[in-house]
Every structure is written in structure tokens, then in C-alpha cells.
Amino acid sequence: MAQDYTPVPASKDNMGKPVARYEALQKVTGAKIYAEDLPVPGRPAYAWMVTSGIAKGRITAIDDTEARAIPGVQLIVTHENVGQLGKLETFANGGLAITEVGPLAGPEVHHDGQPVALIVADTFEAAREASYKLAISYAEESPTATFGDAGATEKALGDINPEYEPIRFNDAEAALANSAHTIDAEYRTPIQHHNPIELFSTTAYWEGGRLVLHEPSQYVWGLKHSAADLMQVDADNVRVKSPFVGGAFGSKGAVTHRTALAALAAKRLGRPVKLVAMRDQGFTHSGHRQETRQSVRLGCDANGRLTGYDHRSWEFTARTTPYYNGGLDKCAAMYAFDAVRTDEYVVQGDRNVPTFMRSPAEVPTIYALEAAMNELAAEAGIDPVEFRKINDTRVNPVNGAPYTSRSLNQCLDAVADSFGWTGRDPRPGSMREGDWLIGWGCSMAMYPTQMGPSTARLIVRRNGSALIEVAAHDVGTGCYTIAAQAAGERLGIDPQRIEVRMGDSRLPPGPISGGSISTASVTSAVANACDRIVEELGLSSDASTDERAAAMAGMSEPEIEVLGRWTPPGMGEDALQAMYDGGVRITGGNMDERTMFAFGAEMVEVRVNERTREIRVPRIHGAFAAGHIMNPRTAHSQYLGGLIWGIGSALHEATEIDHKRARYTNDNIAEYLIPVNADIGEVNIVMVPERDDEINVLGVKGIGELANVGTPAAITDAIWHATGTRIRDLPVRLEKLL
């Protein structure tokens, strides 16, 4: 059954060329392309963040005598001497701050690991040593760690966001009561941390009144404006450089305390300051995926047609800042339900604030829906692939808005074919090999297609070369590469002759790298720039690429420059202005008129050792359809990463918490388990061609957050198929099967 593995697949219908990454050479030679590696003027000082040793209470005294005595220590900043910093809004209020609480805002401690001091020294070693010597006394209170702990307070989402409306579509209660088969189950998902391999760092220096920041960022224009607000300078006097990001997954979008602390220290010392949050500090510094509880009731009739669906979710969040993901409206759009009821809640405790993590809403909620779909299919005695096909829909049942395209059934067929699904005996425990119990499971993958405004400056030259400039971001996704491809394809220029500049706030603004919006948004702006070039060249819009190339070669000027702009249909022009002001505007997914999602289907084989209960995933297959694929090479790698993230979510990843002290106990990447090479067996990805002319200029759907959605439901179903045991509490580790 093992298949030949092809790391770089060929193009199929409606796909671009699998060209190598723009920056591939730099990445294999160790070039200085990441923020922390960029040169600075002069010898930097090194900063160390001191973080709180308690989760709740207040600082009663700070004695820095011993810390100051460490040779090389230049500066110690605490709430007592931080001075006045500007205030940032959080996401919920239109800003980018990760928390309502400002850097070193006061003696109050709101969560374990809160930054309480910054020590800056001539060397990293001295700053670190001084951090051990800084004596901080606390008056400690008993904190609330997570669900079920004393002091946890529950609120309905409507109490936090007056615009939130739970779904009441027909009478779900009656529909469930009249069902032939029903499922009523609670699913639990754990705390997870992004843990990009690149640590969270900020390097800051001042050139007169101008602040320069080197910080890995998913939104350099947003960070520029936020830093300006914090430091109370004009945004034009702040520059953020982040040419490439060493992994983000959502953790480098919000503005954390370290930006202002580094900028402040650099100002006071008059020299560059480098601040790196260490791996353990990263666990409390830049958010996480919050733990959730999902309660699902789902019914179908005797023919397997879905009837009622009732889904309630609880997310655990911070007392200070009730960040939440929500997202049950997306679950409600997935199948042809007769009636839907949703309710969403947050539960608050003394924790750091969660943030987006790769498919933030979808990972927990779709896991619950898809697990329930698998359980109900088994209950009804219907093959789970067939069960999904029976309940396919062309519209969002809740509002009737049609899908612009939806290829779930094609994906199910493609993955079933590649995996060999027809060989599956539906009875649990029916397959084994020696000591290994074998199970097969499947699930749907989905992600809303979202977009935001973007600009792109394009310069084309008579000599046949070109330059694209946009402050978009490459977090490993291939954004430079596909921008060059988008322009190359439209203008008949070899992408190799197109220089691309991104990740610098001096460039024209591009969207936040979040919500999988970059490809659709940036290529749409690049396409607009190309159209403007064609106009400048005096060509008609249907001129062939050869004609375009010839016109460029015959230009009277050595080069022409245009600024492309794109705002998603239905978004006002003010959205573009908002981006210029560092704001975030995203549209897509469930709309009033249209429903926009990418789909996939996944199948896994799980082996559980009968004696040790060790769980292995020898093979996983996924088929995905996401409109026009710009580059099958980079797309394949994103799907690959997504599937493996799905395996991690199902079997490995969880941040453990000490209930008494509300402190993460495995805050390192040896004990926070992520898949390693030896955990991964056969991975096979099928790219199903799909065309969507309605969705945006190039017909592109975002794919970075597609493949890790649903995977845990496929794996838990496979574990049930192997063992007969239903585990509804992620991750599934062997102790849960004992």
C-alpha cells in the first residue's frame, strides 16, 4: 500500500508552476533574513525579561541591589520607573495589543509569567545572571487555573460582545426528538502553544527621533502603528523590519509587552537593545490556543439524513481580557441540517490571554462536529464517507447563501481512492497485525476563504526585470514566491527576474498574515498593479502575455511604476484606509449573500499496540480543493505541515497546568510534545483541481489553515475502530487507552 512519495508535485488543472521558493538559497545557507539576525548600528545591549513567579496578587517590594551589582548591568526597568507609555487597544476593540494590561503597568499580577521587570546589560550572560538576583516580594492570592477550578466565572458571548447572536435555526430540540439516531457527547480540547522554532524577539534602536524595530511579525504595518502609539511618536517615525519569519502560526500577530520594553530600554541607553523571550517565557508571552469544552447533540433519520444539531462551546480565557474565537456559525454551515442551535460561552480565570493559533475557531469546534458525525454514522450503520455525502449541501442551511464552490465530495472520493478506503471492515477491532490493532478513520477538513485589502507597488523595466514591493509577510508560506508568480504570469515576465520585497513597514501596506488571507489578498493587489501597467502601456486588457512583454521591451521610459490596490468586494474603501492606519479588516467565510470555504477530506490508519497501548499513525492521506493553486510546491508543504499538525493535535500536544498555582508545567519543547520526524510515516496529499471565479481576482482560497482541521476526529475514530474505545478528550495518549 505504500506509495512513492513526491515532495514536489506536478501541476494539475488550474494550478501554477511548482517553482522553487524565492528565498530558498538564503534559507539553506544561513543568510541573515530573520529579524533577530539583521545587523544593527553599534554593539547592542542584551535585555532579559523577568517574569512573575505568581499567577495572582501584587508586587510588594523590589530589591535590585544585588542585580545592579552584577558587572555589565546597565538598566533595570520595573513598574516603579517605567514612566508613561501609550495605551493600546486589544483585538476586540480594533487594536493589536494581546492584553488590556500595559507593559509594567503596575504592581498587580494577573497571570503567571507576566513580565515584571526588564534587565539590560552589556552581555546576555550578565543580564541573565542579574535576573536571578532581582529580589521581588509578592502578596500572593489563590489563582483560578482552568475549567472546574474555584473562582472560574462563566459568561455568555453575548455578555461580552453585544453584536453576537447565537443561532436559532428552526427547532433543533424538536428535530432531535424526532430523530431515528442521536448522539449526545462532550468533547474536550487542551491548551496548545504555537512554539514556532524562532523565539519571540525584539531588537530596537533609535536614530534621533526615529525608532527602528527588528521584530518577527505577522503584521509590520500594524506593529509600526502600535509601537508609535506605545512610544508616543509619529507612526512615520517608526520602521519595522521582518523580512522573513521563523514560523508564527498566529503567535506573531498581536503586539506583546516586549516591543515597548525594548524600545524604551534602547531610548534610555542610547544604543540598540536586543530582547529575546526565552522558550519558557514564550508560553506566557504571546498567547496560546485556549482549552475548550464542546457539547454536541446531533441526530439523523433512518436514511442517514441529518436532522437537528445543537452545539455549545466553552472557551477558557483571561480575566483581564476575554479573548475568544467563537466559530460555531461555521460548523452550522457545513452540512444540510434541518435545525441548528448554538450557544457559546467564555470562562475566565487568572491566565495570560489566549490568541489566534492556526485555525483558531475551527480546530476545536470542527473536531467536535466531525467526531460527532463519525459517531452518528456508526450509530446509524452508515459508512462515514457515505454519511457525509448524503448530507452534502450547496448552501449554508442557516441563511440559504450558496457556496461559491464546494468540492467536499470530490475530496472524499479522491482520498478514499488514494487510501484504499473500500477495504475497510466497519466493525471495531476487526483488523490486526500481530500485537497491533489497526483502525481507519476519516474526517472533513475545511477553512473559510477570507480576504483583506492590500496594495502592491510594481515597477517594470525595459530590460525585462520587475520589482514588487508590499509589506506582506512570509511566515514560511511562500508569499514572496507567489507574488512573483502572480505578476510573472500576467505580464509574461520570468518570475526569476522579479525582485520581491516584503516584511518592511516602509513598503506599501499589505494585510496581516492571519486568517489565511495573504495569498488571495496580495495576488489580487498584484493583479491590479499588472492591470495598471497594461493600461500605462496603452494595451487593451485582453492583450496576450507576448504582446505585454513586447510592449515592455519597447517602452520609451526605462521603467514604469504603479501602485496596485485591492479591496475585497463588499468591503468599503474605508477598509483600505484602516490598513494604512495599522488596523485589521478581514471578510469572507459565512456572508449574507455567499458562502466561501475551502474543503478537504482526510483518512488515517492508526495502530494501537494491544499490550502497551502505544499509538502510531503509519499513514495519513488528505485530498484538498482550494480554488486556483498558485504553486503546488508550496501548497503541498502547507498541506503536509497541516496534516502533521493534525496528528500532533490528536496525539501529542497539550500544555499542562498546575491547578493550584495556575502555572504551565511543561513550558519547554521537550515536554510540550510536538511530532518529531520519527512520529511521521507515510503522508500522501492529493490536490483536487477546483475553479472558483467568484471568490476573488485569481480564484484563490487560503490553504495554510485547512489541513490541520478535522484530523483529530479522523484519528480518534480510527482509534475507536482499532480498539472499540471512544476517547473524547484530546490529546489521546496511551494512558487514556489503558
Binding site: 512519495y5 522553487a20 539553506v28 545557507t29 514556532p196 521563523g246 522558550r279 519547554n668 511521521i680 503522508v683
Partner: protein
Amino acid sequence: MSDDHDRFDNFSRRTLMKGGAAGAAMLPMGARAQSMSAGGASATGPSVQRIEVSLDINGQRRDLTIDTRSTLLDVLRHELELTGSKKGCDHGQCGACTVHVDGQRTLSCLTLAAQAEGTKVVTIEGLSDEDNLHPMQRAFVENDAFQCGYCTPGQIMSGVACITEGHAGSDAEIREYMSGNLCRCAAYPNIVAAVKQARTEMGG
């Protein structure tokens, strides 16, 4: 392995997980650094000690005065502007800082810089020159064996060693011996493909 190598912490996350004993190998170096220090710091007082070292990095001799506590990784990154080696954890857990010390893959975050004296250190910057990539670097490009690229220098240095150690015999063996290098982008199958391709070219 010659006696010289005993001074190095040639262990990976895997050997750490296999047994705690390997962790003890780190300790003796502290004693060496102390004995070489000119400083008169007392046991309780401020403990900065500077030390003169002469390192052989990528075939170049580098004479430096460093803090005795400096790791090889921090000296590469902070003093020598060789930022290709990455810090992903500073604790020997991720492999992003992997370099070659006398041809052996070594976690530079767990190696005091002073320990590297008298050895040949090769970093990603010294593996090849721009016009003439190492087969492993070429294989990483051709197999798209990365996304963000942050783990990549460490993966490439480990990949080369995996082959020279003779641990690239099968897919399963490559997976096992590349498991000390975490890739959060999860390019693992492409990394295995790259190591296989390079193995053929390197004659491993």
C-alpha cells in the same frame, strides 16, 4: 572517537531522553573554565570572568575574549555575526543550533565556547560557498524540505552528519536519526527525501 571528543557534548534530544546520564557530561567544563580564568571573583561575589580563546570557525582562526559562561551558540551569534545557527530553545531540545565540531554534530547551545578551543567548528555558513552548494543544501532546495526555514541550518548540519555517521540506511533510520531536530512547520517527509537524495550524491 578520540579522547579529544570526550570534552564535547555530542548528545541529542534523543540520547537525553534515553537516559539522564548523558546530561552529566555537561558539567566538567565549568571546572575547566574556572581554572583558566584570570579573574578573582569569590564564590559569592559577582561572577564575571573573561577568558581568551582562539577558535577555528569555518577554517578561520578567531581570537576572542569572551565571558566564560558564553555558549558556542551565543559566541557565534553575538560575537562573530554568524547567525546561521539558530537558538530555538537554548536547552538542547530542538536542534536548531546544530554545528559540526571536528565533524561531529554538536548542539552549540549546550557547548561552552571555551570547550571549542582546539577543535574545528563548521557552521552552516562554512558548509559551502554560494556558487557551489553542498549536496545536502541542494537537496533541501529541490525537495522543499522547509517552510519558514528556521530549523533548516540545524537540519542540514544534522542531515550531513546523519549520512557520515552511517545512519541514513533506510527511511526509518533517517527519521530516527533526524528526530533530534524539530521542525514546527513539519517538513519531515521532505527532509527525509532530501537526506536520501544527498546520500546518493555524497556516496553515503
